[in-house]
Amino acid sequence: MSNKICRLLVVDDEAIVGKRLQQVFSKIGFEIETYTEAAAAMAAMAARPFDLVVTDLKMAGMDGMEVLRRVRGMNPRTQVIIITGYASPETAELAQQQGVFAFLAKPFRLDELKQIIFRALEEQKGGN
């Protein structure tokens, strides 16, 4: 990730999530786009792929599982991290099967997410 700017997409219907993550990740040099609607986020993803996607699970319209499915379909290299206040073991299991990188329960420490994202990037690099 040193020679390439990492592109991060955030999808959460609560604006504060995008705002806080924008603040944290643009400060450390990420290119970050945030959306409160999954459909708009998927349009952005289709236009220009992201390295990482952080998505909420429960959203009106398209939910996080659908985001996961579409992102993995569009670009299998893109890692997806699901953040949620409602993590049932069944959903987590299903997400694992669909190739989610990590499942993070809200509320969480911003630093936790940072570490997960760094790990995801490391793995991506390793995969090259």
Partner: protein, 863 residues
């Protein structure tokens, strides 16, 4: 044998006799149910408090769901204590109803609608804050502060605001207005017409029945304690005003209002209608876009006949690290100062223990804002007689008194303050307002820049005073009248003779602002700081040296103005970051915690320690816990219920003051009825803990010296402190052969150990909870860290939240349980007063290491 077996055994035996005396194990089981529910609720409160630290990402759903869980835990705890005490706390459910309703009102954003329409300022409590607004909330706190003189008065609350909307059929329009403001795509046209309509209708709104009579009563009461001639100042106090945002000068104030109900009501309508003014709307859209609906209360206070007035900042906002503060003042009423209508004297003072005046720049004060003298009230700018214009507006003694008050208020509110003051002809100093001073610190260095700047033409150097630091460049646009603002182009530098809070209308479009007169303490300067507009004020004759339309660069750091655009400077612009505390999630959580987490019900020996005295959830939990413990103590004292067994004192070589209640096999049958020696303790877990406490050196006998500030901390409730307060009472151990529930209250901290210990591994558990302390939260938290570090070393799973430590372990073989409990005993002794010594994080590490190495003398050596 598991607890339930024990219970059955007892039920089958001899205890099912008297109606008043239930079998002790049943009582004991119920007691533990109370503890469980109580602990759950307390943990949720602590959890929410922690989320305010800024380290977490949480959303509104978190707030809502946690509140629901907490309410459920509260109901459970209340039911459990009533089961235990056989409805001795029958009043508690009724007392909890309004508390729950208030918290739900916060979630529903309705907390400014429920309550009285009039409130005496001195009777305002924290639960009224949403009703009275930020300004009144601060003033009510100051009224109880003996260091500060605040004009008496009352508040017309937001309840009236909402009643007026409902009674006069304005609710649909108001909702639409708020909807437009909160929308991302505002309907500009509608946003121009709707506020005008609302303003007009509100100004002619009919009061609710009986309101004017109640207002007249309040005025009569105020007149009876005021000197004639008696007039009022009616000032806005918006819901959020002064809490997070300054709203400085955004809402209307009406001064010198005659003390008639009708006149005061009309003044309130003017104040309330200013919510729909262009100034306030622009401010909200720029500074407070996701703020949600705002309603307006008004402080109605006695007008102080002012010989001089002004503003003092408890910290120089331009040099926050400098240990100096700045004040400005003028003759007459202070409105002329904050609106930048008159030249002001400037004072800089050092902030030491005894403040000193280090700089004094006096202005020629030809005008002063004073009462018209008419019965209808009002103020007017009047000429100051020659010979009085040059003298400082404040004598040295009053200035130093003011500085002392400013330092005090900064400490009182735990933040730098922006304070409006006034002095009456007798020289008495009054505080009219104290709000958080917004400071943006600039830590950027400027290497090598000076050389590059030498090539640019300087229009002004050492120019005036900095109202807000920063750098801006653009074409100069001159504003002579407010009408000029309409033409203000995007990206221009506003230049003007005087400063005005009306400039807020163009601030978001302005690259910078420069004025010839004005002060860094004006409303405009405050607005510049919030909207981050670089601004220099008091730059003499600058208008004559700039041609309107020419490009200039304003360096409001080094106080220089350049001709042309200085790109090198612009690269130094500080990046802005979102202030977390402005987010609606944070504000809602803060409000919830205000209702929930404060502890008022502190001392069980005080008279008000009863169900009716509970104001917050935490109070209720505290009351429940104490009631539950006392219930056991009382049972223990009752010979009928405990034949042969009282709450019995222990006779130990250390002064631990423990009473033991034996519910079965905890004390040797042949032990004396009182003053039980250690040897007679049969309770396995209790004996292990005592052994640890008695371990040589572990129990500190010497009292630690507590510093004055530590002492003050223990006596004052600080707003950020979610779980503080003094716990007093007995140290009680409820014991059986395999069980101990030990509650320690050492002054300001509170420690519970609940343990079950027998041969069946999976039944064994230890629950450890530690809370509070006599010092500030930082030291208490360090002690909590110390305890957590040690417990983790002994394989506890540990959670800390501020000064709360919760640790659990279990599923251990009996020998391991005993060893662990013995360590806990040593830990209780070791850390009893250690918060005093927890100066820094290194100390924590050193003490933890010492404890683990068995070096318990460290406290005595370093204390």
């Amino acid at each position: 044998m598991a607890l339930s077996d024990l219970l059955k055994g007892f039920l089958a035996k001899r205890w099912r006799t008297s109606k008043a005396c239930r079998p002790l194990p049943l009582v004991f089981f119920q007691f533990r149910e109370v503890l469980k529910a109580n602990n759950q609720a307390l943990e949720l409160i602590a959890d929410m408090g922690e989320k305010l630290s800024g380290e977490y990402l949480f959303d509104l759903r978190y707030v809502e769901s946690t509140v629901e869980e907490m309410i459920a835990a509260m109901h459970h705890a209340i039911a459990a204590v009533n089961t235990l005490t056989q409805d001795q706390c029958a009043a508690l459910p009724g007392i909890f109803v309004p508390m729950e309703a208030r918290v739900r009102a916060i979630l529903g954003k309705r907390d400014d609608r429920e309550g009285p329409a009039l409130l005496w300022l001195a009777e305002v409590e924290a639960r009224h804050w949403p009703l009275v607004g930020g300004k009144a909330a601060h003033l009510s706190e100051l009224l109880h502060n003996p260091r500060v003189r605040v004009p008496e008065g009352f508040v017309i609350t937001t309840r009236l605001f909402h009643d007026l909307l409902d009674l006069n059929g304005l609710r649909p329009e108001f909702d639409r207005f708020e909807q437009l403001l909160s929308g991302h795509l505002a309907e500009e046209e509608e946003l121009a017409t709707l506020p005008r309509l609302l303003k007009g209708k509100l100004l002619s709104a009919e009061p609710p029945a009986g309101f004017l009579a109640a207002l007249a009563d309040s005025l009569k009461r105020l007149a009876s304690i005021s000197e004639a001639p008696f007039f009022l100042a009616v000032r806005s106090s918006a819901q959020e005003e002064d809490m997070d945002f300054s709203f400085a000068g955004q809402f209307h104030s009406v001064l010198q209002v005659p003390p008639q109900a009708e006149a005061v009501y009309r003044a309130y309508l003017q104040v309330a209608a200013s919510l729909f003014g262009a100034k306030a709307i622009n401010y909200r859209r720029q500074v407070f876009p996701e703020g949600g609906p705002i309603s307006i209360a008004a402080c109605c206070q006695c007008m102080i006949p002012a010989s001089a007035s002004g503003v003092i900042y408890s910290v120089d906002p331009m040099e926050p690290g400098s240990q100096s503060m700045v004040a400005v003042g003028a003759l007459g009423q202070g409105q002329a100062v904050v609106e930048g209508q008159v030249p002001t004297d400037f004072f800089r003072l050092s902030k030491g223990e005894l403040p000193q005046i280090v700089e004094r720049v006096l202005a020629a004060k030809h005008q002063a804002l004073r009462p018209t003298g008419e019965a209808a009230g009002g103020l007017v700018l009047q000429m100051v007689p020659e010979g009085q214009t040059a003298a400082p507006c404040l004598d040295e003694q009053t200035l130093l008194e003011l500085a002392g008050v400013a330092i005090h208020l900064e400490t009182f509110f735990k933040r730098p303050q922006d304070i409006e003051w006034t002095v009456n002809p007798q020289g008495d100093l009054y505080i009219l307002q104290s709000r958080p001073l917004l400071i943006t610190e600039n830590t950027k260095g400027k290497p090598l820049l000076a050389e590059k700047l030498a090539g640019y033409e300087l229009i002004a150097a050492e120019a005036g005073r900095v109202a807000y630091q920063g750098i801006g460049a653009g074409p100069a646009f001159r504003v002579d009248t407010l009408a000029d603002l309409k033409e203000f182009p995007e990206g221009a530098v506003l230049i003007s003779h005087r400063d005005s809070s009306q400039f807020v209308q163009v601030m978001q479009r302005a690259a910078a602002i420069v004025t010839e007169v004005g002060t860094p303490a004006s409303h405009m300067a405050t607005l510049c700081r919030e909207l981050r507009v670089p601004c220099l004020v008091g730059v003499p004759d600058i208008l004559a040296r700039i041609t309107p339309g020419e490009e200039i660069t304003v360096d409001a750091e080094d106080r220089r103005i350049y001709r042309g655009r200085v790109g090198e400077l612009l690269t130094y612009q500080a990046t802005t970051s979102m202030d977390l505390h402005l987010a609606p999630e944070f504000r809602m959580l803060r409000r919830v915690l205000r209702e929930v987490s404060r502890l008022y019900l502190v001392d069980p020996l005080m008279q008000e320690f009863k169900a009716e005295g509970c104001k917050t959830f935490h109070d209720v939990l505290r009351f429940i816990h104490e009631t539950a413990v006392l219930h056991l103590v009382e049972l223990g004292r009752d010979d009928r219920c405990l034949p042969g067994g009282l709450a019995r004192r222990l006779d130990l070589p250390i002064q631990a003051g423990i009473l033991a209640i034996d519910i079965g096999g905890g004390i040797a049958p042949d032990a004396p009825p009182d003053q039980i020696p250690f040897a007679a303790i049969r309770s396995i877990p209790f004996r292990a803990i005592l052994q640890g406490m008695l371990f040589p050196g572990a129990w500190h006998q010497e009292a630690m010296s507590v510093s004055f500030t530590d002492m003050m901390h223990s006596m004052l409730t600080t707003p950020q402190d979610t779980l503080s307060g003094q716990y007093t009472g007995h140290n009680i151990a409820i014991i059986s052969e395999n069980y101990v529930n030990l509650c320690f209250r050492f002054g300001y901290h509170f420690n519970i150990i609940d343990a079950f210990c027998h041969e069946v591994e999976r039944d064994n558990h230890i629950y450890f909870r530690f809370l509070g302390g006599a010092t500030d939260l930082a030291k208490r938290s360090r002690r909590a860290t110390l305890i957590a570090t040690i417990l983790e070393a002994f394989d506890f799973s540990v959670k800390t939240r501020g000064d709360l430590v919760i640790a659990r372990t279990g599923n251990l073989i009996q020998g391991e349980m005993e060893r662990t409990l013995e360590i806990l005993g040593r830990l209780i002794g070791f850390t009893r007063q250690l918060d005093v010594q927890m100066r820094d994080d290194q100390t924590v590490a050193r003490y933890a290491e010492a404890f683990l190495m068995g070096d318990y003398d460290i406290a005595a050596r370093e204390g």
